[in-house]
């Protein structure tokens, strides 16, 4: 029954019921502002209950104020069905086999009127209908593991994904793509870096910053780049594949442990922090930047470690942070805390007693830097030495989010804090590096003459 009035509630629902009008009815509405004719559309449940949405014959949508409605008359009824043209994905011998795991991101999509949101299109047939170029690159199969928004991806999903990847590799796949919303893409990338080790094939996470319901979307090109990297590259790493510049030119392959989303909306939002990206990909070729990446192999000796302790947290330190923040975490049973400290890895004296209490209760505390770039150096100042003596462990140049994921992963394997420390400080895949290259830190400042000249020629 409620389906007849998709998204309508309160006053607008009463009005629809009063005039016996349902969603998808072609309706003539008489109002104090004149007559309006069109098809009643579902309304987003987040919008108010004072308007009814109408699609006019011109294609425009408008809202009618229910308080102005004098009469409504149904003229016809036509329910719309959304369907993405599905064509069978062609199989060609000799092309690499690539598996796409879906998590609920917006690689290809259609619109949902009820929420006004974008709903993913996913089957190989749908994807082929939307991005036919994929068939030139590989033989694609797909599997929808879950349909969650990026922000709802968590430990359970990481584990399921890792296990599914392991099985697929054992079955002989040539490359794996994971479609993912972009907000927490780098969290998942780092989780998979730890949970899936020694992969013989590329594992690529990809998303889009502009949903595929718009012509300028980055989705199709990201998918093309990711497919190419997964199917054809020699780089057997867990990587994120997203736009290099905002222009439609090439993608960068970022290491799953060094990548971070750095802009709320830019296409080129993903950046490698403290290192260079692994490689560049365009429609024609893959150009490695690293020389020491893990190469593709023919064996199937992948190792899967699907562990995660959920009682781990990441706190962002700020001046005047009170000790009760840490105390309450301990009281609530947290086993691990990653702190994003200031500068070289500092917090103020005010929280010292709380840290001592936490350590005494057996909580693992790791220090990272909120500057993102650079190492924790706790020997430089007394504060740092103080903290270390209290038992906080510096996490080198691990990114805060990566340290959080890794600590959860480590504590998922053991409660022995020495073993945890051993796991934390032994790099699995570049989450800690011995050296930071000079070109690993690049944040240009506009307005500086040389930079502005450069920006005119270089696509950012």
């Amino acid at each position: 029954m409620s389906d007849l009035f998709k998204g309508y509630k309160g006053k607008s629902l009463l009005v629809l019921k009063k005039f016996k009008i349902r969603v998808w009815s072609e309706t003539l509405i008489e109002t104090t502002r004149g007559e309006f004719k069109g098809i009643i559309l579902p309304r987003s449940e987040y919008d108010d209950d004072l308007h009814i949405v109408l699609k006019l014959i011109t294609g425009y949508n408008i809202g009618i104020d229910v308080n102005t409605i004098i009469n409504m008359k149904e003229l016809g009824y036509k329910e719309a069905h959304y369907k993405i043209p599905e064509k069978e994905f062609p199989f060609s011998k000799g092309k690499p086999n690539v598996k796409l795991f879906g998590t609920g991101g917006t690689i290809a999509s259609r619109l949902d009127y009820r929420t006004g949101a974008v709903i993913p299109a996913f089957s190989p047939g749908e994807l082929y209908g939307a991005v036919p170029e994929l068939a030139d690159i590989c033989n694609l199969t797909t599997e929808k593991l879950f349909a969650v928004f990026s922000e709802n991806m968590g430990p359970e999903e990481y584990k399921t994904l890792a296990i599914a990847i392991g099985e697929e590799i054992k079955k002989g796949i040539d490359g794996i793509i994971i479609g993912h919303g972009t907000d927490t893409l780098h969290h998942t990338a780092s989780a998979l870096s730890f949970m899936v080790q020694n992969s013989p094939v590329p594992i690529i996470l990809v998303g889009s910053q502009r949903s595929s319901d718009r012509p300028s979307s980055d989705a199709a090109l990201n998918l093309i780049h990711a497919t190419k990297a997964a199917g054809q590259s020699d780089i057997a790493e867990v990587m994120v594949c997203m736009f290099g510049p905002t222009s439609d030119e090439y993608a960068l392959l970022h290491s799953g442990t060094r990548v971070r989303k750095m802009h709320s909306s830019y296409r080129s939002t993903f950046r490698t922090i403290g290192d260079t990206p692994i490689a560049m990909v365009d429609k024609e070729k893959i150009t490695p930047i690293w020389t020491d990446y893990n190469h593709r192999r023919n064996d199937r000796n992948v190792e899967i470690y699907p562990y995660f302790e959920e009682k781990v947290t990441l706190i962002y330190y700020y001046p005047n942070m009170q000790p009760d923040i840490i105390d309450s975490l301990v009281e609530n049973g947290y086993k691990g805390i990653v702190i994003a400290g200031t500068g070289l890895g500092h917090v103020n004296k005010l929280v010292y007693p709380a840290i001592e209490r936490a350590i005494k209760r057996g909580v693992a505390i790791y220090m990272t830097v909120q500057t993102l770039w650079g190492y924790v150096h706790m020997f430089v100042y007394d504060t740092g030495r103080d903290l270390m003596s209290k038992g906080i462990i510096p996490a080198e140049n691990m990114l805060p989010e990566v340290a959080y994921i890794k600590l959860g992963w480590a504590l998922g394997q053991t409660n022995d804090l020495d073993k945890v420390r051993q796991i934390m400080l032994s790099p699995v895949n570049r989450e800690i590096t011995e050296r930071e290259p000079y070109n690993g830190y690049l944040i240009f400042q506009g307005g500086v003459p040389g930079i502005d000249d450069f920006l005119k020629k270089f696509h950012k």
């Binding site: 308007h51 830019y266 005119k456």
Partner: protein, 660 residues
């Protein structure tokens, strides 16, 4: 054998078949008989400080070669709500254009390049559009829904224009009829094109995102003149709000035309309303021509579904008399192909528009769809043959043609030629059906060319980045309080005042009606004097004077006040106005001085009359008419009479010698 084809003769003959007449010889009745129908979409920039969906300044332009950075995009068709790609979408994708945006920091932020979602709609813009919607007597919507209208040509980096309906179903009153309004919307302006060559198109983003009002009429105009009248009316109406931009590119018209048996064709981006009559006239006849072509083709070919072109590659060495321009031959694999169009003899040189023929329909599509720069083809029906008889015979031979066929030669890269051949076949097949659904681009000479396939209503999508905006009853009531009077009312008033009608366009365009009304009412002035002072004199001054700073029309009111306060006669205004226009900051006393005004009593002016009459007799023996005499005397007295004496009264005294 083959009889030589006379293309010139065929062109003239087909022009007669179409019945083409120049516009000045075409009567309204002729248009009625053709079933001429025309509707307008007028886009007018709004005078807001900022753009519509971001906080960049509006109205700031950069030079076309000036930019800080560039962004490259490609437009890919998306699935429509109904689940299918739309026709235009596929065509544009076929063209595979690299689109480069030249960005300047002052005029574009991350919104323009689609790297940030829209900010909340500019309420100042909505307010102006609400006012215009009320002036057009439309029904105001309860809630604004931002909708995306797809444009895959790259003119908007997102691939769609954000637009929202404010009012529907209104009307305006022209001199003789009412024109209905379909809708009024607020929308963002597009980029300006810098160049479009081959596969590379360049835009600048300064104008992108500026607020526009779009007003759409029903196709109620039944003659080109009515279309112009409606265009002018809508322009005057927007100007009457004083809240729209003026100047080059601030208003642009899309004009749609159809005739009986024809198709709605949209001519885009007409920048002057005065071009509308010629454009719509020619388009009507182009459609008539295409309907004639349809008749002929269907008579010749019983089953068009079996009609196919045939093509063969030829080497450049076989075309000695013509060097295919190398512009389209820059690809890795180049081809020159000749194409046979079965049973198309006499069609390629069929008249379509003044100095254009059916072949142009193909040429223009090859440029737009296959990215082949012009000249991009030659054919067997050129008005002045380009290749020799022998070469043409050779081509006919290798294509194994029949007498009733026509041939084309085109050239380009392998990839483009594939598209070119499809394009040629597609367009020829459309000729069997009549008039393709297209948007076309206008030219100053009144002709038009293919721009793209006309998109259907499918290209509209709800904007998932914006929430709906309610329009409250109180907002409408507030806006109604300060509405300017209607244009129809203004025209009626001007007529009642007996102000000459050749002043109306200027007065309404510059929105000077209220000023004139105020001068007439406040100073009890003669309407004809005020109307012509502004509609003739001021217009004339404006056309040839560059003021040292911005001239504000309200100064004319102050000028009247000054003249009245100083008890001057109003003729002096005509002398002062040019000086004041040139120097908007000069005070009235100084302006008066520059006109060489000297105070002189009426009695003294009149006292010169007897002497002047004597003098006239002496110097003008031959011309003794009293009219010549009074003209000469008026001229002599002008310097001292101006501002001191009413000229009409002086004239009467010169003529009759008597004061009333």
């Amino acid at each position: 054998m083959d009889i030589k084809f006379d293309a010139v003769k065929n062109y003239e003959k087909t022009k007669k078949i179409v019945g083409y007449l120049p516009r000045e010889k075409t009567k309204p009745q002729d248009y009625y008989e053709m079933g001429f129908k025309c509707g307008l979409e007028i886009h007018q920039q709004l005078k807001t400080e900022k753009k519509l969906f971001c906080r960049c300044p509006a109205g700031l332009y950069q030079k076309k070669d000036e930019y800080d950075a560039e962004v490259i995009r490609h437009m890919r068709p998306t699935l429509s709500e109904m689940g299918e790609y739309d026709g235009t979408a596929l065509m544009e994708f076929k063209t595979r254009k690299n689109i480069t945006y030249h960005i300047k920091n002052e005029t574009a932020c991350t919104y323009e390049i689609d790297d940030t979602p829209p900010f909340i709609l500019n309420m100042q813009a909505l307010d102006i559009v609400l006012e215009i919607s009320l002036l057009l007597n439309t029904n105001i919507v309860g809630e604004l829904h931002i909708t995306r209208k797809q444009y895959l040509d790259g003119s908007i980096p997102t691939g769609f224009q954000r637009t929202a309906l404010v009012g529907i179903e209104g009307e305006i009153q022209l001199k003789k009829k009412k024109i209905r309004i379909i809708q009024v919307s607020v929308e963002e302006d597009a980029c300006r094109e810098v160049s479009d060559i081959g596969h590379e198109r360049v835009y600048i983003t300064d104008r992108l995102g500026m607020p526009l009002v779009e007003m759409v009429t029903y196709p109620d105009m039944k003659t080109p003149a009515e279309a112009e009248e409606a265009g002018q009316y809508l322009r005057f109406l927007t100007r009457s709000t004083e809240r729209v931009r003026t100047g080059i590119g601030a208003a642009r018209e899309d004009v749609n035309v159809s005739i009986n048996g024809g198709t709605r064709v949209e001519i885009k981006g007409v920048s002057h309303i005065k071009w509308i009559p010629e454009l719509t006239h020619n388009e009507a006849f182009r459609q008539k021509a295409l309907l004639e072509v349809k008749k002929i083709l269907n008579k010749r070919i019983t089953d068009p579904s079996k009609w196919r072109i045939k093509s063969k590659d030829v080497s450049a060495s076989l075309l000695k008399s013509y060097n295919c321009p190398s512009k389209n031959l820059s690809g890795e694999k180049n081809r020159i192909v000749c194409v046979n169009l079965p049973d198309f003899r006499g069609i390629l040189s069929f008249f379509t528009q003044p100095s254009k023929m059916f072949a142009n329909e193909l040429i223009d599509r090859l440029k737009v769809i296959a990215c082949l720069e012009k000249p991009n083809m030659i054919h067997s029906e050129e008005l002045e043959p380009i290749i020799s008889e022998d070469e043409l015979s050779y081509i006919k031979k290798i294509l194994n043609t029949k007498e009733n066929d026509a041939q084309i030669i085109t050239w380009g890269s392998d990839q483009d030629i594939k598209t070119a051949l499809e394009t040629i076949e597609e367009r020829c097949l459309l000729a069997f059906k009549g008039i393709p659904n297209e948007t076309r681009k206008s030219f100053r000479d009144g002709t038009n060319i293919f721009e793209r396939v006309l998109p259907g209503p499918n290209r509209m999508y709800p904007d998932t980045d914006s929430a709906p905006i309610p329009i409250e009853e109180s907002q409408i009531q507030e806006a109604k309080k300060s509405l300017p009077s209607s244009i129809a009312h203004r025209i009626k008033q001007l007529e009642e005042w007996k102000i000459p009608s050749d002043t109306y366009i200027y007065i309404l365009k510059q929105n000077l009606f209220e000023l004139i009304k105020k001068i007439i009412e406040d100073f009890d002035e003669n309407p004809i004097f005020v109307g012509t002072l502004i509609g003739h004199k001021l217009k004339n001054i404006e056309g040839k004077t560059n003021p040292v700073s911005l001239f504000n029309y309200s100064k004319i009111y102050a000028l009247f006040a000054y003249v009245i306060k100083n008890k001057l006669k109003k003729e002096i205004i005509k002398e002062m106005l040019p000086v004041m226009y040139k120097n908007p900051n000069m005070d009235f006393d100084s302006i008066l001085k520059i006109t060489k005004y000297e105070k002189c009593s009426e009695a003294r002016i009149i006292s010169f009359l007897p002497d002047l009459k004597e003098k006239f007799k002496k110097i003008n023996n031959s011309k003794k008419s009293s009219q010549a005499e009074s003209l000469w005397i008026m001229g002599e007295l002008h310097p001292i009479a101006k501002g001191n004496m009413d000229f009409d009264r002086l004239r009467r005294m010169v003529d009759g010698g008597k004061d009333e």
